[in-house]
Symmetry: C2
Subunit: 581 residues, 2 copies
């Protein structure tokens, strides 16, 4: 007689061994700091909330804005207002293109699906006024809406040219910012593409824009994100590198900035930025021949924390190698002060079309220095404005804080697509770690920590806690958001057609013993010596002294098992639903 239990045990064992071999083979001979996840897991359905959207056609979800405990999601002809806590729809804004607009769009050769109104830009002008832009069947339009408790009321319409792309798939980014950081009196800053053909990329705030068709301003850019901080709005994007043209065609990652006080220049400069500057972002593995991850895909918000012994503001970014190359992804962090310093450094310039791009001699830069924030840009001299027109690129690249990628992944398994950060999570010993959530193009979410964030030296020891299979259909993750509103601690995971809300941590599921709990190196999890279980802080504070945790080493001799051994265990549980390596 065959024992059914035995057969299954054997199957399970086989599966586990295969997975171990698989992950060991992934890490084998690894380049620099390529590491494997400690836990590989599937979702537990009862712990997941889902917003399925319209299930009959593709939604092209775009996470637009967070309004307190609610999320505004732009899709085809609809803005959904959904609760962050439950992912239930609270209300919706429906806006269809007129039949005339659709007819013209169809005549121009676009498909029925393309000739819809995809909502791509949204800003809260005030608590009650919503500014919304849609592709409107390849004829972008913006509208003001008044919102009440249960509905949205149409107020008025404006042209959407320069504010919203024609093509729903174009990567645009927008941020609402006031000159004095006051929302009701603010402006919309957009990086998008104008014209039906998509040939005119621009960074725009009415009426100022980057120079049209000037490759030194923008050269086939792919916009990734925008941020407002103090006097400046920052844009992150990748574009064809004009300074590289003599060496071949390549894409570089950039950060650009404009001043919120910019009023344009006098006369012919009245519709042009006087403050537009850009610089390369350097996310590379150093060496005699550095290896660059050149294509930025996503950034976090500005994260404020204590790093390398001092308070700093940093931005995390996801970078990849080009599509036509051996696949690699990396997470780098950039300090806001380093970005500012780069913009205060030398300009890059090319004397004539056949010259090399070189640093511009600082002593020759006109006064007032071009690209600064001034009180009235309309009084700037011609010399400064002429200079900024052709010298938008800084000579130095912004160096990555910690000088190297914090996390990297190579191989054809997947690429990173986006990142969000739960910043400065306090551990039992009082040190603080940034927890990184990284989406992949195969529907996974990687949970990692910036282990360097709690260390005073410059050493990067990458720690990947978990790899969660979120979308079974392998849909790429397009956005991530940490919902820590009222300590609900959920991670919002967005794909083109679905939104999931999953737990930020699940300490007890993955660790049954003290040493397993400590081996996770998860700042959310510690071993509760009284209750003898792996638990998380409630609400986000530890009662010091009763918990065992060791994020930097992954073992602690307070654990009985760890008194004899410094290596973590290899245990598999729950029928292959997750694997603890």
């Amino acid at each position: 007689m065959v024992n059914f239990d035995q057969v299954w045990t054997r199957h399970l064992l086989l599966f586990v061994v295969i997975l171990i071999i698989y992950f060991v083979s992934e890490a084998r001979g690894a380049w620099q700091n390529s590491v494997k996840a400690k836990v590989v897991s599937k979702l537990q359905e009862h712990k997941v909330d889902k917003f399925p959207g319209n299930q009959t056609h593709s939604d092209h979800f775009k996470l637009l804005e967070r309004d307190g405990n609610y999320l505004l999601v732009g899709t085809k002809n609809i803005v959904y207002n959904i609760s962050l806590a439950t992912l239930q729809e609270k209300k919706r804004l429906e806006w269809f293109s007129s039949e005339d607009d659709i007819k013209v769009c169809r005549v121009k050769g676009k498909s029925e699906d393309e000739c819809q109104n995809y909502i791509r830009v949204l800003a809260l002008k005030s608590e009650s006024v919503l500014f919304v832009c849609g592709t409107n069947a390849y004829k972008p339009v913006c509208r003001d809406y008044n919102q009440t408790e249960n509905e949205y009321k149409y107020v008025e319409e404006h042209s959407g040219e320069g504010l919203c792309p024609y093509d729903p798939n174009h990567n645009s980014t927008a941020v609402f910012a006031g000159p004095i950081n006051h929302r009701t009196d603010g402006d919309l800053y957009v990086a998008t593409v104008a014209q039906f053909s998509g040939a005119d990329p621009l960074i725009y705030r009415k009426p100022l824009r980057t120079e049209q068709f000037n490759l030194k301003h923008l050269n086939s850019p792919n916009f990734v994100s925008s941020l407002h901080h103090e006097d400046y709005v920052y844009f992150f994007f990748r574009e064809t590198a004009v300074e590289y043209i003599n060496c071949g065609k390549t894409v570089y990652s950039r950060v650009a900035r404009v001043c919120t006080k910019d009023k344009g220049g006098p006369h012919k400069y009245r519709n042009r930025w006087t403050s537009f500057l850009k610089a390369r972002l350097n996310c590379s593995v150093s060496g005699e021949f550095p290896f660059y991850f050149d294509e930025i895909q996503s950034t976090s918000d500005i994260i404020e924390g204590f790093y390398r012994g001092r308070k700093s503001k940093i931005i995390y970014g996801v970078f990849t190698t080009p599509v036509n190359s051996i696949s690699g992804s990396a997470v780098c962090a950039f300090r806001l002060d380093d970005i500012l310093e780069t913009f205060d450094g030398p300009f890059k310039w090319q004397e004539d079309i056949n010259s090399n791009w070189l640093p511009y001699q600082n002593s020759k830069v006109p006064e007032p220095r071009p690209g600064q924030c001034v009180n009235d840009s309309r009084t700037l001299p011609e010399m400064t404005l002429n200079f900024i027109k052709d010298h938008t690129l800084m000579d130095r690249a912004v160096p990555a804080y910690w000088s190297q990628p914090l996390i990297l992944h190579t191989g054809f398994g997947y690429r990173y697509t986006c990142i969000t950060v739960d910043p400065q999570i306090e551990t039992v010993d009082g040190s603080k770690y940034d927890v990184l959530f990284i989406g992949t193009d195969t529907g996974k979410v990687i949970k990692a920590i910036n282990a360097a964030s709690a260390s005073s030296d410059n050493k990067v020891v990458p720690v990947i806690i978990e790899e969660v299979i979120v979308f079974q259909n392998q849909a790429p993750v397009t956005s991530l958001l940490v919902n820590n509103f009222a300590f609900q601690l959920k991670l919002i995971v967005v794909s083109k057609d679905e939104i999931y809300s999953i737990p930020l941590h699940d300490c007890e599921r993955y660790a049954l013993t003290c040493s397993e709990c400590v081996a996770l190196q998860d700042p959310y999890c510690a071993w509760d010596e009284n209750r003898q279980r792996c638990t998380s802080a409630e609400p986000r504070g530890w009662l010091h002294g009763k918990f065992v945790q060791n994020i930097s080493h992954g073992w602690d001799d307070k654990c009985p098992e760890d008194r004899h051994s410094t290596t973590s265990l290899s245990v598999a549980r729950e029928n292959g639903e997750f694997l603890l390596c």
Copy 2:
């Protein structure tokens, strides 16, 4: 009671499944034409001959020359003359450095191991005269030896400066070539490094050399191979790309050539090449942003065959990505005619230090065109000689024949190190394939075919037949050589410390049925319908009509099993000694 056989069967099954998972995961989501080997095998000891060398210290084997059925191998203080058929030593040439030379070397701070005489250059001046150069304790020296049936007799000594490196680890290459292709009256062409510090790389044939310390001639080169063909000697190497300096530091692969009739110029040019030109080799995956394999590691000899419908001479090369990057290797082929055409194309030049590198206007190139083979180079005008001094680099890169890599491998498993080719193997249907043997830095040999070599179109369908684990200690394969002397059909595999001779094919071992035999896609193997076994041609000719073989598809409906299915089988045999995927 436990059945011992059953336990082992299960273990075997487990092992096989793991291997399958492993190789599937390697190939998963593969970029372009990354493919897996059909057979992964270990050596069968009784089919392998070995030359172990000295087993007490490292030998630094270097394959120097083939003399009929014998192989000359340079090592520490010795040249071994070993039989290709048996790998038995026939005779040896011993040459130790003098005690004085060793003393001086030790005083200069080199180790005892470095202060030995490593034989790095060897040429057969005639059937009886051997020209040998050794590092001679960091004071290179060359000697003539007379060889008799059983021994070598010292004749005379010359300085080895410029002919042999100081450092035994330096990559040098040398070829003996006559101006009229006549060995007894020939010259030694060497690409190596002069000076104790290794700071002076050069391509040299007494008395002509490349310009000293001129980065436009040679910029930190790593020499790979040299070939003599008709009027020219070709050198393959990688070096820091001078034309890329404004875009960062990178390495490019090059082919350079000098004319064997070159006599140097008049006056100040009397010790300089008048014919030295070089060009970039382009081994890349095309795309809007091409992906380059920039570091050449090895080349084959010149292979003559029928490709794309016409007779051509091609050279296969192994290229890799840089060490500090995501690991990738590729095999590209270059047609001799394309190399010649590149040398006849525009020159690249830089007007001044801050200019871009651009094509030089053809109409401005002086006459006679610099870099050509002329009867008396000493009569060349000043203008031509001045031009060639600063314009050694061609503007265009030599394109890969078939426009792309023929075989490529990505991932951290291994890198390709070297290649040899058994050319134009005739199959049952009369078409001819080049069989490629590629060494790796982990002691493996990959057996692949250039499937495009028998097809008239430009399509590349990579076929990897076998991956053989040759060196159990994972020692990098440094050279490969096909021994088809007297139809012995062996592959000579060289590492730093060992030389193995292994079978070129083993049809019967890997395939027991017709469909398995055909699925191998091995030009050496066909299914013998009479004898009902997978067999090889003897000696290298097929009795047409009785054999089933289909190299391009890997299946044939003449096989009974294949009449119903077009997929090959997954079978494992011989206790994991090899795996048929």
